[in-house]
């Protein structure tokens, strides 16, 4: 092992004797006076996988958007293979051989794979398209990297993993030498992530270079050669991955602050809050998503629902919030049968909900913080009297919530869309917990959040549980389930295939249950 490390180091130092593939010198970027990047120096060597590590808002994406020509830098220069270059638009970047896979895919769902690939390219045939020829090239290219992709499929028909492969292929088709992957694993299942890593290995074998933006430490340890840590818009250090460990990286990313580990008192159970009996639900496509599902959950307890995405989690959450009417079976909350009740009746019964898709269902992006804060209870006292909103009170409550939940925003009038994901989630939490719910449904509560925000959200959820709230935690991240839950249930194809106290969970058993290969005691 030590030998391999040394060899890696030597190989990299050798690479550094020739000019690096890419050098960004003294790059600074200010948005209306706000510092996004400050005096950044970055060297990328041919053939390496270089990680950019930092919390949300640390300036990783800004730096890469500058490199890709989407923003002009306020100051600084970019050198490509030793030559100073002026990248004014993505066109220039593509011409140099830089390709970028954005976190939110830049694909057009209504068009086919091949149309998406050739879009914006100049084939030099007097502007006529030749899609057949391009399709053949795409198939050959896909084969060379051991992927399968139907060039004539429409993009909306592809899975998320396939769309990502298409994005990579699109960049390679345009002759990319350097690939920038912006948080590529955020939307992938563990299996798809593994496939992506194999793909990255194949790319570097072919002497391509990859910049890997992430805040997941285990992934950086697994796939990257070097890592540059960004903090508050500056690169604080660049180190070889083989010389470091996750703990060090975490400390560097947080700027020396120690992470407060999650502290959990043993659960003290109250009476049963949620009871589902033989619940059957259909999903939007009309297929059975929940099959005879029975669960019960007591106040002061966190029940973690583990499972691979798409095994009925969304339907379970919707059924308990009153957003989905079950085919059969019962949902009882605080002993009340909720059959046929409206979503508002569920809210009145004390259900709080952290939805899985924050942007679509958690907040209204185009409204400001105080408006989002009252979304669930604007219609009743004390927020409104006789259909008129009491803005003075709302403002005071919003300010209090923003202070106690440490929301970083200019003021309560800031639009939701201008806040970072972590701050948006804090508003959702503040709103849902401020009404002291008896049942909290938390679905992927830390999705898309950085380290600090995740720890914060987790601690708040545990606080709620200690107050006697029943928490249904639905997550695909096993670490999250294990860190928070008192009891774990595994969901597979709409059924609970196993339930056990969190202390007795073995990771490999859990993995087998999630894959449907093992059934435990129900």
């Amino acid at each position: 092992m030590a030998n391999k490390k040394q060899m890696d180091n030597q190989a990299l130092t050798q690479k550094q004797t020739t000019p690096p593939l890419l050098e960004m010198r003294h790059i600074s970027k200010y948005f209306a006076g706000v510092r996004a990047n400050h005096n950044i120096n970055l060297q990328i060597c041919q053939g390496e996988v270089h990680a950019l590590l930092g919390e949300n808002g640390a300036g990783k994406s800004t730096l890469m958007n500058i490199l890709y020509g989407l923003y002009p830098p306020t100051a600084g220069k970019i050198y490509w293979k030793g030559q100073a270059v002026d990248i004014q638009s993505p066109k220039d970047a593509i011409a140099l051989g830089i390709g970028m896979v954005h976190q939110h895919f830049m694909l057009i769902p209504a068009l086919s794979v091949v149309e998406n690939v050739v879009l914006g390219m100049n084939c030099g045939r007097q502007g006529r398209l030749n899609l057949n020829e391009a399709a053949k090239k795409i198939e050959a290219l896909a084969k060379a990297y051991n992927m399968s992709l139907d060039p004539w499929a429409k993009v909306w028909q592809l899975s998320v993993g396939q769309q990502q492969r298409l994005e990579i292929l699109k960049a390679l088709y345009k002759g990319a030498d350097l690939l920038i992957l912006d948080e590529p694993t955020a939307v992938l299942t563990p299996q798809e992530t593994e496939e992506l890593f194999n793909m990255i290995r194949r790319l570097t074998e072919a002497n391509h270079t990859v910049i890997f933006i992430s805040h997941k430490l285990n992934e950086i340890m697994a796939i990257c050669d070097r890592v540059s840590i960004l903090r508050l818009g500056e690169i604080t250090s660049t180190i070889h991955v083989c010389d470091t460990c996750q703990q060090t990286l975490a400390r560097l990313m947080m700027g020396g602050e120690e992470l407060s580990a999650i502290e959990k008192k043993p659960a003290s159970l109250h009476e049963t809050v949620l009871e589902c009996t033989k619940l059957c639900c259909r999903n939007t496509r009309g297929l059975m998503a929940l099959k005879d599902l029975s669960l019960s959950l007591a106040g002061g307890e966190i029940l973690g629902i583990a499972g691979v995405d798409g095994n009925g989690q969304s339907e379970l959450a919707d059924a308990i919030c009153g957003l989905l009417t079950p085919e059969s079976g019962k949902v009882r909350i605080n002993g009340v049968d909720m059959a046929g009740k409206s979503a508002r009746a569920f809210l009145e019964q004390g259900v709080g909900h952290i939805p899985e898709d924050r942007h679509r269902r958690g907040v209204v992006l185009s409204m400001n913080i105080r408006e989002n804060f009252i979304l669930m209870n604007y219609y009743k006292a004390p927020m409104s009297h006789k259909h008129l909103l009491d803005w003075k009170l709302i403002d005071r409550l919003t300010d209090e919530a923003m202070a106690s939940y440490q929301v970083k925003a200019p003021d309560r009038d800031a639009l939701m869309q201008n806040l970072s994901g972590g701050n948006q989630q804090k508003i959702v939490l503040a709103r849902e917990l401020s009404k002291a719910p008896s049942l909290l449904i938390a679905m992927h509560p830390s999705r898309g959040l950085d380290f600090g925000a995740t720890a914060y959200v987790h601690n708040r959820i545990i606080e709620a549980r200690d107050r006697g709230c029943a928490v249904l935690l639905i997550s695909t991240e096993i670490e999250e389930i294990l860190a928070l839950s008192d009891r774990v249930a595994v969901l597979y194809e709409g059924e609970v295939v196993g339930q056990m106290p969190a202390a007795e969970v073995k990771t490999d058993t859990l993995g087998l249950m999630m894959a449907g290969a093992l059934r435990g005691a129900g």
């Binding site: 890709y68 068009l111 100049n122 006529r128 398209l129």
Partner: protein, 296 residues
């Protein structure tokens, strides 16, 4: 009757595909109709009148593009503004040029191209053909638009760019496409054709300008784009259908059926509403339709 809808519809098909909803279509056609007559009168040629109409359409479209694409103004508001401006300004200019109650002067217009007499006399078939082919030259030109547009939209790089810009402009930006240029281009093109469609009404059908003579045909052209599922041949079919509705109106009036004429006048518009409501239903337009693109 279908021709002005076809010509205008084909132009607005391109801007719609690029994500621009231009309800100023009505106003652009009205400006075109007036400019065509004025141009033909002063330049003493129907063809130069047509050119003047197209230039007028281009100019109005350029104002629309400046406000909506460059200044991110709301497309519906600007379009409505153009319609109101057109209604007022064309009336004023018309009265200045032609006077209040004077009979319109003779202006050069497009005449019906005669069907060869020898062919028409052969048999009953010849007679039918001669009625069908008694059209002015613009009709024959207009019929080429659909296949040309089809080729342009689906078989050229620019066509692909236009379709992509209407779906997801930001993604286009990341592959180096100039979204603003594409939108300007399609809007200006729709202005050219919209102006020509107006001139067709004033120079090909009537030979004079009448206040508010477009009578909703700009809106019907937009409806034809939606009903035609945003494809050139679809627009052609929709234009023929809506045109038939308009013809029906004039025929029924001439026949004197006893139906109150107000209902007959409504016929084409009711047909438009029914087809849009009944058949189109869930027809999905370009995803970024009507949304200004603001580059970060």
């Amino acid at each position: 009757m279908a021709m002005p809808i076809l010509i205008a519809g084909m132009g607005f098909l391109f801007s719609e595909r690029a994500g621009v909803v231009n309800i100023g279509a009505e106003g652009i056609m009205l400006f075109g109709a007036l400019a065509g007559v004025v141009g033909a009168l002063y330049l003493n040629s129907a063809w130069l009148g047509l050119l003047a109409a197209m230039l007028a359409g281009l100019l109005v479209a350029a104002i629309f593009a400046l406000l909506t694409v460059s200044l991110h103004a709301d497309q519906i508001v600007v379009g409505a503004g153009i319609n109101i401006l057109a209604a007022g300004l064309t009336t004023t200019v018309n009265r200045i040029v032609f006077g209040m109650n004077a009979t319109p002067p003779a202006i050069p217009s497009f005449h019906v191209l005669p069907f060869p007499d020898a062919l028409a006399r052969i048999s009953w078939l010849g007679e039918i053909l001669s009625t069908i082919f008694s059209q002015n030259i613009l009709v024959y030109l207009a019929l080429f638009i659909a296949p040309l547009s089809q080729y342009f939209l689906f078989h050229t790089e620019i066509g692909l760019k236009i379709r992509a810009v209407g779906e997801y402009p930001k993604a286009c930006d990341t592959v180096g496409i100039d979204v603003v240029r594409v939108r300007y281009g399609t809007i200006l093109f729709s202005g050219l054709l919209g102006g020509a469609a107006g001139a067709y009404l004033s120079l090909g059908v009537l030979s004079f300008f009448m206040e508010s003579m477009t009578a909703g045909r700009g809106f019907i052209a937009l409806a034809a784009v939606v009903f035609g599922k945003y494809t050139p041949y679809g627009v052609l079919g929709a234009a023929l259908l809506f045109g038939a509705g308009l013809s029906l109106e004039s025929r029924l009036q001439a026949l004197g059926t006893g139906i109150p004429y107000q209902f007959i006048l409504m016929a084409p518009y009711i047909l438009t509403i029914l087809t849009l409501a009944g058949f189109v239903g869930r027809n999905k337009g370009p995803a970024a339709s009507g949304i200004p693109y603001i580059k970060e």
